[in-house]
């Protein structure tokens, strides 16, 4: 090794090959609220972006592929020492900065180190013929992963329902009235909701705030009591028999309804009775 190659001084890497269109659509990462749609142009990653950088990879194979592609190297010809050094630099930086690193990254680091040490060991000529190149397993895994990564990108580009494909569904006003209604289990509803929430967490950065269901339910009940053409007195919306908890739930529900512009509140004089009505 006559040249210490670290990510930060890598300047001779060739230009970035064209990113696939589908990846361009998906932000590569979000740094301080700004979406980054392309990977960094060189191998230097500012320390504050490192965690984000690593999160953008689907594991160590993906990171290795990136390091290889970034320098326009062929998978079959990867210079193990150089790639290992680059990989290790990232991992060490992560470890030093005490970021939590998926175990897979460390396993890969160990594997690379092993390959490197085996490559350094002098071997008799005849042994070399029989023994498998220690890079073979790594190269095989990289190639294997790369083809599915590519396949995933291609599947993502296929025309699909809800995006390019719209199916014809015409009205049918002549449905049999005695047709049985579909049965639904509560479990199915819960799963559906959990699924939505999972997707929301995956696809949006904002969190759905957690509100006790009792408040949401009370909001619907209060809304039902209130009509738009007449005022109802504030105090009538509370039932003392429900106790303190019930009163709090009602109050929260009313405040939330006002915030959501579903009801309005009127007070004619300071200290006077408060009236509510549905938003007109």
């Amino acid at each position: 090794m006559n040249k210490e190659v670290t990510p930060s001084i890598e300047t001779d890497s060739p230009a970035e090959p064209n990113p696939r269109p589908v990846q361009a659509e998906m932000p590569f990462a979000i740094v301080q609220g700004q979406p980054i749609t392309t990977p960094p142009k060189d191998l230097y990653i500012p320390p504050e972006a490192l965690e984000v950088f690593l999160e953008a990879f689907e594991g160590p194979l993906d990171l290795l592929l990136y390091l290889i592609k970034k320098q326009n190297l062929d998978i079959l010809d990867i210079p193990i020492a150089r790639i290992t050094n680059q990989y290790m630099t990232y991992i060490e930086m992560m470890t030093e900065m005490k970021f939590e690193l998926a175990a897979e990254y460390l396993v890969m680091a160990a594997m690379l180190a092993e390959i490197k040490s085996r490559m350094l060991l002098p071997r008799p000529q005849e042994m070399e013929e029989e023994e498998e190149d220690p890079r073979a397993e790594l190269v095989r895994r990289l190639q294997e992963y790369e083809r599915y990564k590519k396949a995933a990108e291609e599947i993502d580009e296929l025309p699909r329902l809800e995006r390019e494909i719209r199916t014809v569904v015409v009205d049918f006003p002549w449905k049999n009235q005695d047709r049985p209604e579909p049965e639904v289990s509560l479990d199915a509803i819960l799963k559906a909701f959990r699924d939505v929430m999972t997707r929301v967490e995956l696809y949006t950065s904002h969190q759905i705030e957690r509100e006790p269901l009792s408040v949401r339910e009370r909001m619907s009940i209060v809304l039902e009591l209130i009509k738009s053409d007449e005022f109802i007195e504030f105090s009538r919306l509370f039932k003392p028999e429900e106790g303190r908890a019930g009163v709090v739930v009602s109050l929260l529900a009313i405040l939330e309804l006002m915030k959501e512009t579903l009801i309005e509140m009127v007070q004619n004089e300071p200290g006077g009775a408060i009236y509510l009505r549905a938003a007109a």
Binding site: R140, E162, R166, T167, V168, V169, V170, D171, F172, P173, W174, K175, N176, R179, P180, E181, P182, E183, V184, L186, A188, I189, L190, K191, A192, F193, R194, D195, V196, M197, R199, V200, Y203, T204, I208, R210, P212, L213, S214, R216, E217, M219, S220, L223, E224, I226, S228, L257, E260, T261, L262, I263, E264, A278, A279, A280
Partner: protein, 222 residues
């Protein structure tokens, strides 16, 4: 634009899940640059479609909010058998919408859409209203005065709940999850397995299996 206006209008009315007014049909062409078609052009296209359908099982129907295409009563007898033949089932979109209304009520359709990340079809709302599981609970005081939906007493009765607070909280749902993954897999498999067998008889689909084999043979043994 090489595509005839009539083709675009027909496809749009057929895929839309609510009737389309002439204004909405004109709006489809607004981003093309240049003048959008005149109302009369749209009307002529609609009249021409009506003629095309004269001898068919479908018809163009004008309702209050616009035009829609529907099956004719003359084919209703056969089309109705689509549902007697297999028990009806609600779509994922319907279940998700119902779940969101239950947990986030009172809520507008727009808010449901922004949570789901996809539009909510009018069919789904209509079906839930017809089943009397959701109702319009009020209107939000913003432009357009959108309706807000809430679940009904009937909804609670059907699912045997005394009140909404008997539903698990978000956090509980998530925990339920980790424990129940295996439980959840099992019944799914049995049902699906049976269904697959039955479907297999359909000669149309046999290509699927050979495709899979073809691909796995392509794998090297290395």
């Amino acid at each position: 634009m090489s595509e005839p206006i009539k083709n675009i209008i027909e496809a749009a009315i057929m895929v839309a899940d609510e009737p389309l007014s002439i204004d909405r049909l004109i709006a489809l062409f607004k981003e093309d640059g240049g003048e959008p078609p005149e109302r009369q052009v749209i009307r002529d296209a609609l009249a021409s479609l009506e003629e095309d359908y004269a001898e068919r099982g479908i018809e163009l129907k004008q309702v209050a909010s616009g035009y829609r295409i529907q099956a004719r009563q003359s084919v209703a007898k056969w089309v109705n058998r689509l549902w007697t033949e297999r028990p009806p089932r609600y779509t994922r979109a319907l279940l998700e919408t119902l779940a969101i209304v239950a947990y986030r009520q009172p809520i507008t359709r727009g808010e449901i859409e922004s949570i789901r990340g996809v539009s909510v079809s009018s069919n789904v709302i209509r079906t839930l209203m017809e089943r009397e599981w959701i109702k319009v609970a009020g209107h939000r005081d913003v432009p357009g005065r959108p309706a807000v939906y809430a679940t009904t007493r009937k909804f609670l009765d059907y699912f045997n709940l005394k009140s909404l607070s008997e539903l698990p909280t978000l956090a509980e749902l998530r925990n339920l999850d980790d424990i129940a993954t295996d439980l959840f897999d099992e019944p799914f498999q049995v049902i699906e397995g049976k269904k697959e067998e039955a479907d297999q008889e359909d000669e149309e689909q046999s290509g699927k299996e050979t495709g899979a084999e073809g691909n796995s043979e392509g794998q090297p043994s290395a």
